[in-house]
Amino acid sequence: MSVTALATRPLAALGRPVLHALASVGRVTLFAAQVLAALFRPPFYLREFGHSLMQIGWFSLPMVGLTALFTGGALALQIYSGGARFNAESVVPSIVAIGMARELGPVLGGLMVAARVASSIAAEIGTMKVTEQIDALVTLSTNPLKYLAVPRVLAATLAVPVLVGVGDSIGIAGGWLVGITRLDFNSATYLKNTVDFLEFWDVGSGLVKGAVFGAIVALMGCYFGMNSARGAQGVGAATKKAVVTASIMILAANYALTEMFFTS
């Protein structure tokens, strides 16, 4: 082997995954653009949209609600014990409300939906692919992207902000419950502090984040499902990639959106 080849080997080893990652980003971006373009072109599959709305929104509600309830309660305890170090226990209601609405509601809600929805979408579409159901759609003059991806992405984009809103309320209620039962807060004072310190944009920014996270979750589920390899192993790998990628993208998007909303 020549000296040049030896010298460039580490560069090649480094370049290969970088090129692969860039190609993947390109493919996902192209897929997202195709879904976005298809959103506005008929035919529209309303029944599939309604079904997706129920699956993604309604059936995720218990999981998101329980997550928010326990997170709100734990947050109240943490802020109380942390605040006690500098006699700031009274900030518990406002910090719980702001923390839930701005960060924990959308991020934890998004991650829980990613675990539940991205996995189920990827597994369902992946199975459809390996059992030739997607080919069957094509032969029946139906565009799989429009029939499978568009209703799910639209439903998730609309449903996740609602889930986040409900989650915020339940999380704040969890904090209130812990506040009045474990931390000796007066119920009326706790609620007044919550309402007084919470601003519209605290909630609004969380809902916008929810919409973005919902779109990410459904896009990743559809993309990896439609590109699933053959067999049970292929579907399993697609499901895993969908959840992992959606989760990482949610956390990255959360940082980017927080920068955009709160550091100007």
């Binding site: 035919p43 079904h51 459809m128 059992t131 030739e132 159901q133 080919d135 069957a136 094509v138 032969t139 029946l140 003059s141 139906t142």
Partner: protein
């Protein structure tokens, strides 16, 4: 008439189709035979545009399918997939009437359901099956539902991908008979891929043998037994020794 000329397809290092030349006249039932993994399904998917060939042309009634209006082209086809490929989330009648409930020629729900039930009856399934889900049906029933879906919009051309795979001999015979009856009754052009010789004899007007990426032999089904082609003879008699390697 479907005409394939010099069609090639490669997956990675695997040259599956190496130059397919084949003509399927209108109203005729062509059966493609060949061993597993010889590219029969790929050939069929190339015609439907599910897989894009690397080279060569495929034309339908003289028009290149690559430049044809896709929806109009697909509207002329019906397809029975190997595993049925029924949509799990839809009821049996919704599967059968899938095309009738969508697109430019969309029918009212009640009318589409009535047609679906009629097609189910045509393939020997009771109307009660209509409201079941595919997972509640046996393999043979799923194949029949797939067949009902393939013929629901009364297509001019019907493709059958391994129609009897996984079925017991009696059910395979039932499916073969149904396919033959339907193709004759509708006057459709049919293309079937199979390695089941009982299907070949029941369904085919003409047979083409695919091996090593090319059509090795083609002729009327009546000539199948008398041909001296060594590939065909080895295949139809299931011999382990001959020009077709048993380890592929």
């Amino acid at each position: 008439m479907i005409t394939l000329s010099g069609v090639t397809k490669t997956f990675g290092a695997n040259r599956v189709l190496r130059g397919i030349d084949l003509t399927i006249p209108s109203g005729e039932s062509m059966v493609i035979i060949g061993g597993s993994g010889t590219g029969k399904s790929v050939l069929l998917k190339c015609i439907l545009g599910l897989v894009h060939p690397d080279a060569g042309t495929i034309s339908l009634d003289g028009q290149d399918v690559a430049t044809a209006d896709r929806d109009a082209f697909l509207a002329r086809f019906g397809m029975l997939f190997q595993g049925g490929a029924l949509f799990d989330s839809l009821r049996v009648w919704e599967n059968v009437a899938f095309r009738l409930l969508r697109g430019a020629t969309k029918l009212p729900k009640a009318e589409a359901r009535a047609i679906a039930i009629e097609k189910l009856r045509r393939v020997g399934l009771k109307p009660e099956t209509a409201d079941m889900f595919p997972a509640e049906l046996s393999g043979g029933m799923q194949k029949r539902v797939g067949l009902a879906r393939a013929i629901a919009a009364e297509p001019e051309i019907i493709f059958f991908d391994e129609p009897t795979t996984g079925l017991d001999p009696i059910m395979a015979g039932v499916i073969n008979e149904l396919i033959r009856e339907i193709v004759v009754e509708m006057g459709a052009t049919a293309m079937t891929i199979t390695h089941d010789m009982s299907s070949v004899r029941a369904i085919a007007d003409r047979v083409a043998m695919l091996h090593d990426g090319v059509i090795q032999w083609t002729g009327p089904v009546a000539d199948l037994d008398s041909t001296s082609d060594p590939y065909v003879q080895q295949f139809i008699h299931g011999r382990a020794h001959g020009p077709i390697e048993s380890v592929r």
